[in-house]
């Protein structure tokens, strides 16, 4: 069957099997591998994308049923090459380690802030409670979302790689 949907603002049309999951459509057919596949039971949330602005677990959405709708993935978070504040927040606050759950967490975090620009920590925890991170212990993810809430226009310096460093390089005598 043929399916047409808008993915990150671009209309795409593909011939697919009716049983194809949205997560595999995005990854295998469109090459958008930022969305991950971590379980088969809607428990882990590494596959969260937006369907018409609402976070959904793309491992339990048929690609066919996304036809005619708007899908946004982690690849669609940047604005003209600038990181979204939620992406900056995760870098600033060490909100990720292995990075596997991160795209899903970013999509949920951004959606939360769009509805509630100043959530409490408990509201952030509630929002991400359908997703699992095995690395961070969640506290830094909460801080990351709160960083984005506190910096709605992002950081002043948009160089996220190596900033805020106490590590002024210097040597010790050998």
């Amino acid at each position: 069957m043929q399916v047409t949907m808008a993915v990150n603002g671009v209309e795409v049309t593909r011939e697919i099997e009716g049983r194809l999951l949205l997560v595999h459509f995005l990854r295998d057919h469109l090459g958008l591998t930022g969305t991950h596949w971590g379980c088969d039971t809607s428990n882990c949330g590494t596959c969260v994308v937006w369907l018409d602005g609402e976070p959904v677990k793309s491992c339990t959405v048929l690609a066919a049923s996304a036809g005619g709708h708007e899908v946004r993935t982690v690849e669609g978070l940047e604005h003209d090459g600038e990181l979204d504040p939620i992406q900056q927040g995760f870098v600033e606050c060490h909100g990720l380690q292995c990075g596997f759950c991160t795209p899903g967490m970013l999509m949920t975090g951004r959606a939360l802030l769009d509805r509630n620009p100043h959530p409490t920590d408990e509201q952030v925890r509630e929002a991400i409670s359908g997703q699992i991170c095995r690395c961070t212990g969640y506290a830094t993810i909460v801080r990351s979302v709160q960083w984005a809430a506190a910096h709605p226009d992002g950081a002043e310096a948009t160089e996220p790689d190596v900033t805020d460093s106490e590590a002024v390089p210097s040597g010790s005598a050998s």
Partner: protein, 797 residues
């Protein structure tokens, strides 16, 4: 869920002890991850790539009568269907495990655990490959499974490994450490002896990314490239060479971005071997990616120790001796990941952080019809089990003596002047200063105030508990004189090149699964050479690009590879000094090193930077006599000893009297991992481990029914903490450098996983004291806590 305002930041009183040059630095790897541009194994797409799926046994123990693959082969878009018999013809039906046992790649004679690999299909896409699995017809002849570890050695027990010639029971090995006679004497004279049966249930690392591989065999030049979810690419390359008979120089293992490992990606799994075979057979690249159920039911479990703990003390509270017997369930194949001479891993550190007169452990390991593995789940080779045993027994003793848990530990700690300290089981703790770490945790917790609060709550009928644990870990395996994995010494290589413009590339034999190596190792080199971290690229996870070494697990990256990175930098600096002496026309004795430059002693205006030196090293000008051009070095670091980080953890729980639900209200972790390179990353490592601890203590267990069905085969059944089950962590630290490590660092990746479960369980038992409860096993789910409150705590297995 919190009633006390959580403290959000680390306490930095010890900043004056922080070595110059290290510190919080944002991670170099993050920009790609937050853009969705990480590259994991399942993201690899090669032209013409096929997909592999594995048929797994629905039974725990059964003879294979027949396998009919004809219908699967007839399905359009299927390229190959391979069974154990076909692999046997190639001599590939069995492969060695990390413990010198063998494991079936695809079953030939019988299946030995539910989820075992029976056949595989290669097809054009992953959906078709799975369709074809449905069409394979396997006839099984069911056998009684061995599911109860306590009955595995019964004479009547079915024999799991009857393919081993002469094997008539399920016994794998017996092991002991310490002095049985001396320990018995101490127990005989002790005023107080407390014993307890303690189970550390089977759990699973369950990284968010499951295991998988893409195998690409080039038949023309005989080269195999394998993208693989491995924590140890070099070790895997050597083992594939030995197993599959491929020449080692024709194998390239790429371990790209890895979505968490926690020990689960140390072993070689049948799926990797199947992928290689599939690429050899089809002549095309082949991808295998297991699903979550396959991950939970077939790849490396952790723990599964049934322990009898005994502790002896004087009536004044001096701990004298610890003794234990362990029954270890290794599943159907002995695939424990541990150095060869250590069949029980580093369980020998069960003597903990205390000055004992004697200690003894005996252990029997057995086969059962459960998945093999026995990996460390974020733990250095069975230290989690050891620390849990000793820390439960010490709290149990405190309970018996009616003294405070924290005070009993303070009264029995090794003193700083006793280090280096040789334990009664022969481990040499390199350094430690335990009391300040414990005091700091108590200070952050407000320990005395918490005890008063508990008293008031008890008077009101509320159930609150405070748990303490203190751990000493042994990490950074290990000295090659006595540590190897299948004959490969546990050393690590490192190579450093400084380019003409002063930018550098450092190549590691370890690789990251989220630990932040690309940042931490740049900082180590930056500290040693004065080149900014941004100018240093860290290359890892590719056997063609990096020197040999044993990989990342057991918190060994910083203790072993971190030392290698520091020493290779010093080698480069030594050469730079020779070149600098030529450039400045002074003798090397007159040069001093200062912030990325060599300067003339007494005349700091006369200096050359490391960047100047790099250009000269590669340039056209003369170099001092006998000095080769270039500025690079290589090293293979063989650690002198393990490193021994320690920490003090305090947990506060509230238990709902109506539902027996345990809430971790506060958790205080004070870690001492020696020199701290990047506090932000260290804090992250600790947070993650604490969350593992909550999972194991309260939620996680791979359970089986008596027929051998795995009851933890999905994330609906195997429960992992979400953001709602864990508190906002409170962390602190002390710094006791390792005396033998070049930069004094000890490793921290697994400390919190090791140290937190006993703190949580001790808190729950402390809460339940009014109910007369002295012990209850993990996982402390509401139903199990309820049973304990009703006076009937049951072991989980």
């Amino acid at each position: 869920m919190t009633t006390t305002e959580p403290k959000r930041t680390e306490r930095f009183e010890d900043n004056d002890q922080k070595p110059v040059g290290y510190g919080r630095m944002l991670r170099k790897e993050d920009p790609r991850f937050v853009r969705g541009k990480g590259r994991y194994v399942d993201d690899v797409q090669l032209p013409g790539m096929l997909h592999l799926a594995i048929l797994r046994s629905p039974m725990a123990h059964a003879r294979i009568v027949s396998v009919d693959t004809s219908a699967a082969e007839a399905l359009p878009h299927v390229h190959a269907v391979v069974t154990g018999t076909m692999l046997a013809d190639k001599g590939l039906a069995w492969m060695p495990t990390l413990s010198n046992d063998v494991q079936s790649v695809l079953a030939t004679d019988k299946v030995r655990f539910q989820g075992q690999e029976v056949a595989f299909v290669v097809a054009d896409d992953r959906y078709t490959a799975r369709d074809a699995l449905e069409l394979i017809d396997v006839e099984y002849d069911p056998l009684d499974p061995v599911m109860d570890v306590r009955k595995a050695l019964d004479e009547a027990a079915p024999v799991v490994r009857d393919e081993i010639e002469g094997k008539t029971d399920n016994h794998i090995f017996d092991w002991e450490t310490g002095d049985a006679g001396a320990t018995e004497k101490v127990f005989a004279k002790a005023d107080v002896v407390v014993s307890e049966d303690i189970v550390y249930p089977r759990v699973h690392p369950a990284p968010m990314e499951t295991c998988g591989a893409v195998a690409d065999y080039d038949a023309v030049d005989g080269r195999l490239t394998l993208w693989s979810t491995t924590q140890a690419p070099h070790a895997h390359r050597t083992l594939y060479a030995l197993v599959a008979g491929l020449p080692e120089h024709k194998i390239r293992i790429i371990s790209p971005d890895i979505g968490g490992g926690f020990g689960g990606k140390v072993p070689i799994y049948p799926g990797y071997v199947c992928s290689i075979v599939a690429s050899l057979v089809t002549g095309k690249p082949v991808k295998w990616m297991e699903d979550r159920s396959e991950n939970l039911t077939s790849t490396g479990f952790a723990r599964d120790y049934v322990m009898r703990g005994e502790i002896a003390a004087t009536k004044e509270g001096k701990i004298l001796a610890i003794r234990t017997h362990v029954l270890a369930d290794h599943g159907a194949f002995n695939g424990v990941a541990a150095p060869v001479k250590y069949p029980a891993g580093f369980f020998g550190v069960f003597t903990g952080s205390y000055d004992l007169e004697a200690a003894y452990c005996s252990m029997s390991a057995v086969y059962t019809n459960k998945a093999p593995g026995g990996v460390a789940y974020a733990c250095s080779f069975r230290i989690t089990e050891a620390v849990y045993l000793v820390e439960r027994m010490v709290s149990r003793l405190a309970d018996e003596l009616g003294v405070d848990q924290a005070q009993l530990r303070l009264d029995n700690f090794l003193r700083p002047d006793q280090f280096p300290y040789t334990t009664k089981t022969g481990w040499v703790y390199d350094s430690g200063n335990y009391e300040p770490t414990m005091r700091k945790a108590m200070e952050i917790a407000g320990y005395e105030q918490l005890r008063r609060e508990q008293e008031q709550k008890r008077a009101r009928g509320e159930i609150m508990g405070i748990g303490v644990s203190f751990f000493t870990e042994a990490v950074g395996a290990g000295p090659r004189k006595d540590m190897d994995i299948l004959g490969l010494g546990m050393a690590d290589g490192c190579e450093l090149r400084v380019h003409p413009t002063g930018k550098a590339v450092v190549r590691l034999s370890v690789q990251t699964q989220g630990q932040g190596h690309e940042t931490t190792f740049a900082q180590i080199v930056a500290e040693e050479l004065g080149i900014p971290p941004a100018d240093i690229d860290v290359v890892h996870g590719d056997t063609d690009q990096t020197p040999f070494g044993l990989g990342t697990y057991g918190s060994r990256s910083t203790p072993v590879s971190g030392a290698a990175a520091a020493l290779v930098s010093r080698k480069v600096r030594d050469k730079a000094k020779l070149i600098a002496s030529g450039m400045l026309e002074v003798s090397i004795a007159d040069l001093e090193w200062e912030k990325g430059r060599f300067q003339v002693a007494g005349d700091p205006e006369q200096s050359v930077t490391i960047q100047d030196i790099a250009m000269r090293a590669h340039g056209a000008g003369d170099l001092p006599e006998g000095i080769e051009g270039g500025l690079e070095a290589q090293i293979c670091y063989n650690p002198e000893n393990l490193t021994y980080p320690h920490g003090a953890y305090i947990c506060v729980v509230d238990i709902d009297p109506g539902t027996a639900h345990v809430t971790v209200r506060r958790f205080i972790a004070v870690d001492d991992c020696g020199t701290r390179i990047n506090p932000m990353i260290i804090e992250g490592q600790v947070h993650g481990g604490l969350t593992d601890g909550v999972g194991m203590a309260l939620m996680e267990m791979i359970a089986f029914d008596s027929d051998g069905n795995c009851l933890g085969g999905s994330l609906m059944d195997y429960l992992i903490p979400t953001a709602l089950e864990v508190p906002d962590w409170e962390t602190g630290y002390t710094v006791t450098p390792s005396p033998h490590h070049p930069i004094g660092a000890k490793g921290v990746g697994e400390s919190a996983t090791v140290g937190s479960p006993p703190a949580i369980v001790n808190a729950v038992i402390d809460a339940l004291r009014p109910f007369g409860v002295h012990h209850a096993d993990m996982p402390l789910t509401p139903s199990r806590v309820w049973e304990a409150m009703c006076g009937n705590p049951q072991p989980p297995i």
